[in-house]
């Protein structure tokens, strides 16, 4: 099943006293359930802009974008926010943990925007998620008491706690040493595989990119397929 479908998507930015700047042009991309996609590119090639579009944080300037066969532009702002919360999990390079909150509170944060069982049983669900990433003994630790690898594991637990169908990882190992980065990527791959979610990773690191089944390159806003491995 196609989770994401982009066809002829462009993203331009209006500049003052200058012609519009095209960041992404004619992007065609399909992401299916369980896909492993890596996107590489130089700084300023538009990787993060693409990630924001895929994560429903930004809107395309033109083109068609479907999320689970629904046209994204037809969704209201609130509906897009709720869809993002329910279906998309973000893993950031700088972890972006909420300071002053414990690991458990950080992982519970996305569940505050859920409904029903996920909301009312958020402490139990978040605890199980942290145990799953090997931090069952660090529930009450604040981010500044955790190592970089542990912080990223908390961030992974937080991004997966609502069971998203799409995981978007922006340089997930960029702030980690090589060995810890490998461990974290193993974890992301495992958890994504278990949940059946699609994983789109943006990275500079060829080794990280090599873990994906499909490899894409973004160059000056144009997306090119480097290789595709049949799932």
């Amino acid at each position: 099943m196609t989770l994401l479908h982009l066809e002829g998507v462009t993203r331009t930015v209006q500049l003052i006293d200058a012609p519009p700047l095209t960041i992404l042009s004619s992007i065609d991309l399909d992401v299916d359930i369980g896909d492993r996609v890596s996107i590489v590119g130089r700084s300023g090639s538009g990787k993060t802009t693409l990630l924001n579009l895929l994560g429903l944080l930004d809107n395309p300037t033109s083109g068609t974008m479907l999320f689970e066969d629904r046209p994204v532009h037809s969704l209201s702002s609130g509906a897009r926010d709720r869809l993002r919360g329910r279906a998309v999990g973000f893993i950031f390079q700088q972890f972006n943990l909420l300071q002053g909150r414990t690991a458990l509170e950080n992982v519970m944060t996305p569940l505050l925007y859920a409904e029903g069982r996920q909301f009312w049983q958020r402490a139990r669900i978040a605890t199980e998620m942290l145990e799953r990433v090997g931090l069952g003994d660090r529930l009450g630790s604040l981010p500044d008491r955790l190592s970089g690898g542990e912080q990223q594991r908390v961030a992974i637990a937080r991004s997966l706690v609502r069971g998203p169908r799409l995981i978007l990882a922006d340089e997930p190992t960029g702030a980690l040493d090589l060995e810890t980065g490998e461990t974290v990527m193993d974890l992301i791959d495992d958890v994504a595989a278990e949940s059946g979610a699609a994983l789109v990773t943006i990275t500079h690191d060829p080794a990280i990119a090599a873990r994906a089944s499909r490899h894409l390159r973004l160059d000056h806003g144009v997306l090119q397929v480097i290789s595709a491995v049949p799932a």
């Binding site: 944080l57 993002r84 919360g85 002053g100 909150r101 505050l112 925007y113 409904e115 029903g116 937080r158």
Partner: protein, 408 residues
């Protein structure tokens, strides 16, 4: 419905987490709002005490609402001889329980350091209630006092001081000098008003008349007594007309009769304390405005530090409405807590004996309880200020672009 419930609970949890984590900032906000709420509640509370002081002072001099005065004299200024009978008939006819003759005179009293003229007021038993007279020693006149051979007197504290502050249980006496020297028994002491410097005393009117017969010669010390009545406000106007007609009719054309309403409320249209309340309200509003400005200032400054956090929350599904409500709730939660602290502080201030004495200036005998409306006003103001002060940061928070916020 499920979404509304989880959104509401979730927003409160978020607000509480913010309050808990940003203790310093919240404390700063709390101080400003708590001081403002304390000020507004204190001002309203003290206003109630001051109002009570003014009311009691007015009632002491002019009587309670509605107090009528009746004055009758013949054309030569003397007391009409039929007046006592007419007075009794009027009270019976209109079933008035609270009524008193008021005879103002000067009675010479022998103190240890010499004989001094003392302002003396002859009254009937109900006068004490009608004029809200409270004694600091002893009790107001009773039926037994009317039967005394040695008249009872109630003296002010200056009189009592000049007697040497004797214990009333020893039945201290005072010598009243006149045509016949009379020994009076001091049965009570009332507090002198702040502007009083001379001794004064009350006697029962019958006793006063007995030792100094009411004279018909206007050149002598005191003229005819006046008569006072405390009646329901809603029938006071009809009674003024009726008494004027009855007494004038009974005395005939050669007598002059005046019946007037004399209490403070007779001279006021509408709420007699409206101007005081408006002044107090304006001051309190200004204080609260300053507190609110401080709160908005702190909230806006700290919001800049939270833009990244707002972006992160938005990336995990927080809608704009949810962010708006959470930021607003945070402000409201903080100010309500501040409001409670402020109200408690205000109660402690207003009910402290020092402050009560200072505001009442000795004019209040029935201190009002801390006005509930002052506490309610304080809490409502705190909540409204919290909502208003949270509005601006909440609007700013909603306008944050998620992508920019995450990178902030």
């Amino acid at each position: 419905m499920k979404r509304v419930a989880s959104n509401l609970v979730g927003s409160v949890i978020e607000a509480w987490q913010e309050v808990r984590i940003h203790k310093t900032r919240v404390m700063l906000s709390l101080i400003g709002v708590a001081v403002a709420v304390c000020a507004i509640t204190t001002v309203v509370g003290l206003g109630a005490v001051a109002q009570q002081a003014t009311l009691e002072s007015s009632e002491r001099s002019g009587g309670r609402a509605a107090s009528l005065s009746l004055f009758a004299s013949t054309n030569d200024g003397s007391t009409p001889t039929k007046m006592p009978e007419i007075w009794r008939t009027a009270l019976e006819r209109y079933q008035i329980d609270y009524a008193s003759r008021v005879v103002n005179t000067s009675q010479t009293v022998q103190f240890a350091d010499g004989a001094v003229p003392v302002q003396t007021v002859g009254v009937d038993l109900p006068y004490g209630t009608m004029h809200r007279i409270t004694l600091e020693k002893g009790v107001w006149f009773t039926d037994e006092d009317q039967a005394r051979l040695a008249p009872a007197v109630l003296v002010n504290s200056i009189f009592w001081d000049r007697l040497g502050r004797p214990d009333l249980r020893t039945h201290p006496t005072a010598t009243l000098v006149g045509e016949r020297t009379t020994t009076a028994v001091v049965t009570g002491v009332y507090p002198a008003l702040s502007w009083e410097t001379e001794p004064a005393m009350y006697m029962l009117a019958d006793a006063l008349i007995a030792i100094t017969p009411v004279v018909t010669d206007p050149n002598l010390q005191f003229g005819p007594p006046s008569y006072e009545l405390w009646v329901p406000v809603d029938v006071s106007e009809q009674l003024v007309t009726a008494l004027q007609r009855d007494v004038q009719g009974a005395l005939g054309a050669e007598a002059s009769v005046q019946v007037n309403r004399q209490d403070y409320a007779a001279y006021m249209d509408g709420d007699p304390y409206l101007s005081l309340k408006l002044t107090v309200g304006a001051i309190a509003g200004l204080v609260l405005l300053l507190g609110a400005l401080g709160l908005v200032n702190i909230a806006l400054v700290t919001l800049k530090q939270r833009i990244r956090e707002i972006g992160i929350r938005r990336s995990f599904g927080a809608t704009a409405a949810r962010v708006f409500f959470a930021v607003m709730m945070e402000s409201v939660v903080a100010t309500v807590v501040a409001g409670i602290v402020g109200v408690i502080a205000a109660v402690l201030i207003v009910k402290s004996p020092l402050v009560e004495d200072f505001i009442s200036q000795g004019q209040v005998t029935d201190f009002p309880p801390f006005p509930v409306e002052a506490a309610v006003v304080g809490l409502v103001c705190a909540t409204v200020v919290g909502a208003l002060a949270g509005l601006i940061p909440a609007l700013v928070a909603v306008r944050v672009k998620v992508i920019d916020a995450i990178r902030y």
